[in-house]
Symmetry: D2
Subunit: 396 residues, 4 copies
């Protein structure tokens, strides 16, 4: 029965029934009118989730990593300089990808638990009089540490430095769960995926690209075919795809957008904030520290929580899985063994989160953590029940 329990990993997320059904599409001819009529509105509606009217939506049958690769290869040339801060496994991976593609990566090392350092970016960009830096890469939500960076602040820094670099943002684990303002924040490419806030199966990279980034395509010399924006945009323009499209995910995306809009994006964000705050209060009740260093840095989609000195977080997550059949995120990179993560994004309710908190409490008690059974649950309950005016039913 334990496979009926929800997962609390920070993605892929629990797929709601409605989306599982929506993805169960029989093969259709993707050259037929039906596909065209389905796909075009999906692209259009996705803009609302990115907060854009000017951006171009581009999807690939790939994962978020593929989306990053598409962002880089369509806009940059070998030897181009990019600026990026490292504050977790996912920002690190992006750096690695850039280096493998022959870019000149200027890395700003940050303590894990902090976010994008707008001030240091500003200093560096101001110093780059020659405008060698072609792009600033920012991970909006660092899934490894549960830290949300302030993208608006990065944009302000870039503006303050009066620097023309493009800004690329990884919003894989934030989009459709936390507010995103592509146009307002001046993002040039935002990269996301199907398996987080969109609550779908893994397999679709979803990008939003600004006119400025599109213009960069013309001179970009990094090789690409599968991930070429130009082929995709040309095919999409007539409702097509340059190769076989991931039909099931496109139909899933259509229904996911419908669900998000029915709940209302603001309500979706508010739900994530509420779920997250409950988890944070539980952690506090357990006397455990979040990896995120300050409250303003706390992600609303995932919380990374330090285990007490002398405990091994891998043992905790293994025990929770083996004994209670519940998956939590392990500590990644330098946090391995030191922290575990509770994913609280996508298709989740207060009720489901409480089962996760109750479970990890049992696991902690089993392993002699100095916590009280029911303590974290009660802290979350107290928060969830305050102001109960119909919220839990909102997305029924």
């Amino acid at each position: 029965m334990s496979n009926q329990n929800p997962v609390f990993i920070p993605g892929p997320t629990n797929i709601p029934d409605r989306l599982r059904l929506a993805m169960q599409v029989q093969t259709q001819d993707h050259r037929a009118p039906d596909f065209v009529e389905t796909f075009a509105p999906v692209l259009e509606d996705t803009k609302k989730v990115f907060g854009t009217t000017e951006g171009q939506i581009i999807t690939f049958p790939a994962s978020g990593t593929g989306g990053w690769e598409a962002a880089i290869t369509n806009t940059l040339s070998p030897g181009d300089k990019v600026l990026v801060a490292r504050y977790g496994v996912f920002s690190h991976r992006w750096i690695d990808l850039c280096e493998r593609h022959g870019l000149d990566v200027q890395i700003v090392e940050c303590t894990w638990g902090t976010g994008a350092p707008a001030d240091r970016f500003e200093a560096i960009l101001s110093a780059d009089k020659a405008h060698d830096i072609k792009a600033v890469l920012v991970t909006h939500n660092e899934t490894a540490t549960g830290v949300r960076s302030d993208i608006r602040a990065v944009r302000h820094a870039m503006n303050a430095a009066n620097h023309p670099a493009m800004m690329f943002v990884d919003c894989v684990s934030s989009l459709a769960s936390m507010p995103f303002e592509f146009d307002q924040w001046g993002v040039d490419i935002a990269v996301s995926g199907s398996q987080k806030g969109f609550m779908l199966a893994t397999g679709m990279a979803i990008l939003c690209v600004s006119p400025k980034a599109l213009a960069a395509m013309e001179t970009a010399k990094l090789p690409r075919t599968f991930f070429d924006f130009r082929d995709m945009m040309a095919a999409n323009a007539s409702g097509g795809f340059p190769y076989t499209p991931p039909l099931q995910l496109i139909y899933g995306m259509r229904e996911s957008l419908k669900m998000l809009f029915e709940e209302g994006l603001d309500n979706v964000y508010a739900r994530h904030t509420r779920l997250a705050e409950g988890v944070r209060r539980a952690a506090n009740a357990w006397g455990l520290k979040l990896v995120a260093q300050t409250p303003d840095l706390c992600s609303d989609t995932v919380s990374a929580i330090y285990v007490p000195e002398g405990f091994d977080s891998n043992e905790l997550t293994d025990h929770a899985f083996n004994t209670y059949g519940v998956s939590f995120g392990i500590g990644l990179g330098e946090l391995n063994g030191k922290a575990f993560r509770i994913g609280h994004l996508g298709s989740l309710t207060d009720v489901m989160v409480l089962s996760g908190l109750a479970t990890i409490e049992m696991a902690m008690a089993d392993l002699n953590y100095p916590i009280e059974l029911g303590g974290g649950v009660a802290a979350a309950q107290e928060f969830y029940r305050a102001g109960t005016s119909g919220h839990a039913k909102a997305a029924a």
Copy 2:
């Protein structure tokens, strides 16, 4: 999202993914060999769940009520006398059905919260020297009160009275969740359904019939066609059905049996006992009383819990549903407004039950019940976590 929460009604129960897929069968010709090869083993395997080698399994595309009607009409004649105790809504309904079919129903009124009164049955049966009583009707698990009756004791009473009446047992909400011993207990007809312990959609009445009850068919004069055992048995004998069979439920039943046997019936029963005990400890922590009057009467599939004096249980279940999107059983019959019910049967884990307990706690707190948030949860957690040797993974 709230429709992703599990339900805590005492049936229909949460359908596990595996069974939802198993029931998603495309139409096949039920006169073709494939159907025969599927159906015969299902009937055979179902015997194990009833605990019988001598009984005959008979199914109908109907609900449990239809199963009751089949039991009566195939074995009795207008005016026949039956003995039955009333201790809840479901035992009451059976009485009503008998009366509508022109039977002479001798009713033993019992306090709700108690079970089948073996001693009073013995007295009545002993006094029935003429053996006018043709059948004793017992509800194994009274879903309205959360009381499990002792069927073995009823059999002993009948034997002690040396009475030849048949014994019919309603095990709709107990079969496949609590031990059932058709042969050992000397049951003549047991009536169950697809939507409780079998974790399937509603729509199949499942009966087990003893040779003695089959013999009674020959003289029974109550009219029946749809529910006629003879037609069904004759058709089943060659793998057929006297009318269009409920293919989806039959395939679902095949998979359900597979799941039950993979987990192991004893493990299934132990899981239900464990889940139930956690709920009872939570109720105790809340200071609330069970409807079941003594511990030995407590059902392992549903707990009926009195709300404190001055509170309305309907308000509680409504609030839980409207605010948190979780369904609990309401109080039925004379318990309406006075008790609510937590169903804990079928496809459920400790983890899922904890979410139900956490939810009803929040609802009680919202309505100013004198309970402590986290209190019931902690009591259940403490019990669930004790002896964690792999139990939760058992039926993964």
Copy 3:
């Protein structure tokens, strides 16, 4: 792969993807408002398919046979006289059911291949000056012979005889595929099921009941509980069900109605007529005779076709199933061995029907029937392609 072939039995019919998904509903609390909001419109919309504004829709979790039993037991008393013609297996079964329930059945024997004998009914009814006959029972579409009876003519006969008997109609294999006019034809109870024109799984009997038949409930003395109209109507009135409802089928029914209305009932009927006519032309091209004796008797949902003298129709259907993986209807009753049946109702297109015709042609050729490969197919193709103005796409 052969289980991917459509079936050509006259029900249960091929379930379209859309309905398979619609029936894949997770358990919900049937006492909750969502169920009420779903169920009431389903009952209301079903009226359109029956062609009624005055009739009451009543459903049971059962098969069509259960629907017949409900019709009888709710309106008649033991010893009541009913008039019915026997012209196939299904009209025969209804007679059998009436007899088992102690009714006095006046049977009019008709040649199989003919339909309800309005003239003989008129004579008998006219002669029944005492109005002993309480109901006339008519099978609208005799599935065994592929004959559609003229219900309007039966009504005229009853009116001409100035007889007050009720008229009950079995429309199991015609409703939602061929026109039905409950009000205009003066039907008192019409009985159908979920697994034919509604294209759903088996398991729901669907009845339409006139005010006159409802009035008869008050005096009807045949025992019933599971099938009691009164309990069902009382519960339905507040959106409920007197026992656990077949949730999956109710949600399926909602979607089925939506599909029927999207295609348009008139287009649905026209499609069935077109599909049927193609099959009839194929039979003609093969030189085979239909069981239906005259063109006006031909059913649009199933064609029963005589095999030539000296051939065994069972061998033909067995061969088609075993060799090509396609199910056709066997000859039933006195037609066993002499005729086979092609079901052409529900979720079917011209294209699918052509595959059935091509298959039975191969099977006939294999068994040395004097037919030409492609001959029947060509006759059907010629008909299907004539007037191709978008018809095939109608219900896409």
Copy 4:
């Protein structure tokens, strides 16, 4: 209803029910043991389909195009020379991809309708004394023309020339439908996808890589991250994935392999040959010419068929889709307007193919093609029915 018709495009192919259910997996933690236990055998079993014991299976969440890109970028460096013949749209696309990645592509132009020119390859390779050519690229089954190339012959040519170049083969539309012998043919990289012979949704590129190609990874300088063999192999070695895996497709792949092995690969190939031959006989009966120039070149998965002079193949496929709701492949590239294609691969039976033939016949008749209704169907029927020893049931 027309969306219930099978598609006759050469991929994505009709998804059988069993695989649609298999892909309907709820999210699991891909870092948990269950995933490891599922994924490793999938990789192992896939080898059997490629006909290899030495090759390494590598999958990516991408389309076949992504697979090509992976093949190139993991083994070659900018400026490397590759030899490839152009005889259709898909061989052309591969050339385009190589050129975009800065390779030096030596193109052998061939008439469309022919296959890989082993003799011309041999001459070129023999002349390449410096062994500048690093790889020979061959499209096994050119989906645009319905031509199967002789890979063994290409290997013989390479051996005859005593040339050390690697051989890369596109088997996207042949694998799991036609025999493939990775080891025997000396293939170095074979590229396929989930949506053709594996009968799954689009979204997984499936490669088989020889030890020689793996060795080339070490020196290959084309940039890659998402498609990097090394990351994937390192992660796979411990049952993991370098990024979020496409869980649904992996579970689907497991079931697909099970289906293929249950039917037996030889039976799968024989079925495709039989289906294809029926289509070819139909084309012949229509008096239409295949694009494939000689019988030995004919693909068993797709037939490209010239329309007569003066007719527009696009009009034909549009009409078939718009009027009868059936999708056929259009003519691609220089064949656009001149030929249409019938895909006959994956989850298909004789019965289903006959419906496709009957449909295109109707469409041709509607458009005044000089064909006889039923003629092509009869030719296919005659072939399909010859030797009916249980073949059609093989994969039931």
